[in-house]
Symmetry: C2
Subunit: 310 residues, 2 copies
């Protein structure tokens, strides 16, 4: 744990690194989703070798053009441990290229199993050491405590899936617990509570010198963020009864572009905390590959479309 | 997909294989949870080599004594891709020893990402090919369709986490949607609906010749099971408003022994469908290791305790 605390001291908090990079390159997260279909579409083999080539092309397109890349773990797992070796190598290559990396695994488990996942993503010596990861809340946020704590100490970040981008998730996430609180809103309210407890205990660690808004005071509910973020997809138009700006966190926002939400809808949903939103796009960019110039061009177009909203 | 269908044809359904093994060895599932603590307690290195030794000892204790083993994925992931190579080797070794294997990963994602997880666990050529896996329902059961379908076609099985064994999960799973339906009961009701649709469409594939009750007719709501199972932990004493026997599935039951539920409580919760319950125990057995004779002795004691209830 001491080693991990050292890492945090060296690299600062995820939010600090993110706001610094965002001020230079904008908020866009490029999703690296090497499905079988896209590998074949790019003329690559559906094999660990094809996977490695795919990641190299993606990272060459991303470096210097976006602040973050997001790897979808499932597409590496389906290629077995050799696929996961490619993931490990690609995570390292991304960081060497100055990119922040989110490893999208949506893990969630209990007790010491959660601790094992925390080590998977936030131990400095792990093959899968990342800047941030995603987790699923179904086994309760209390048991994700070790993940939040280790991420916080290691300068990492955890996005809890609250509202996902798939319509099929409405059957659980949108269910109403009472008149005003849906399951997803209940998860968001619990994230707010955890962040509040961190922010009151540990304010020193959370000051964001590099926030685009300049000098920041703890009284600002948006710019000072706690260690627990949320995945909130803007492509679903139902109201959320919890005010998102009150969560004091960063948001990962999938479901823009190919999955349906416009930039304007995204800006509208996150009104009051748009600086804290990481919009993630994958298929819209990957469809322009494998030509790196075409992908870089597509990234530039998306960033240009974003400018007026973010 | 044809290759996978062939697998199913060769090995039959998971339920068929399970009931056959259960009639010989009983229902006990031995959990293989190589946490850092237990590795050190056994005098093994916290390394891929230590992990491999741990698994070999577990499998030698299990073979011929239990029908199933359950590997917890997180403890292999924290050791990186080399840890996952050990997992792959251990899954193969377990099957070579005649054991049925459950890979406990609690994955859950959307669309083509779910398909990638389905391939991870149920493609015959995958390093992580298993008899069964666990999934998380938070992103909706609709998007897990590819996992259920591929498992069904490959003679595999999927346990959806409905009620987990950790008290912290009560904050989401026990939340009431209306007067009688909790979040977990809503998940269970959806599992029932999916199994009913499979059983009405595809009854031929689901006849269980090897059920301990002998010849089985589709009119029997318990013995003929659909492809979607449930994780239901018996250590929490809250009522479940859905009648478990009506789900027409197999149940994976953690949280017995070290985590608190007694055999009698377990038998009580699953009254009317106890033949369909796979009780999983890990720490109670592993605490007797690394001595194989002591572990085998402990397994025998647990099986003896179970006999009057299962």
């Amino acid at each position: 744990v001491n080693q991990v605390l050292d890492t945090g001291a060296i690299r600062g908090s995820f939010a600090q690194r993110y706001f610094k990079e965002r001020s230079l390159l904008g908020p866009l997260v490029m999703g690296i989703d090497p499905s079988r279909d896209i590998l074949l579409q790019w003329g690559l083999e559906d094999s660990p070798g094809g996977l490695a080539d795919f990641c190299k092309i993606c990272l060459e397109s991303a470096a210097g053009n976006v602040a973050l890349v997001k790897f979808q773990s499932a597409f590496f797992e389906r290629q077995g441990y050799r696929g996961l070796q490619v993931l490990s190598d690609s995570l390292k290559l991304a960081r060497e290229n100055g990119l922040l990396v989110i490893l999208d695994g949506k893990r969630g488990d209990i007790g010491n199993t959660s601790l094992a996942y925390a080590e998977t993503y936030f131990s400095q010596t792990s093959d899968f050491f990342s800047d941030a990861t995603t987790v699923s809340p179904y086994l309760g946020l209390a048991d994700l405590g070790p993940v939040f704590e280790m991420a916080h100490n290691a300068g990492g970040y955890v996005f809890v899936v609250a509202r996902s981008s798939n319509p099929g998730a409405r059957s659980i996430q949108a269910k109403m617990l009472d008149k005003n609180l849906s399951v997803e809103a209940s998860v968001l309210a619990e994230i707010r509570r955890i962040n509040e407890s961190y922010l009151s205990d540990k304010t020193d660690n959370l000051f964001l010198q590099d926030h685009p808004g300049g000098t920041v005071h703890t009284a600002d509910p948006v710019a000072v963020v706690g260690p627990v973020g949320a995945v909130v997809a803007p492509n679903c138009q139902e109201e959320i009864s919890v005010q998102l700006a009150s969560l004091r966190c960063l948001f990962l926002a999938p479901g823009i572009g190919a999955q349906g939400a416009t930039m304007a809808q995204t800006a509208d949903l996150f009104s009051g905390c748009i600086d804290n939103v990481l919009p993630s796009m994958s298929r819209s960019i990957l469809a322009s590959g494998p030509d790196i110039r075409a992908m870089v061009q597509k990234i530039a177009e998306i960033k240009s479309d974003m400018e007026q909203y973010f």
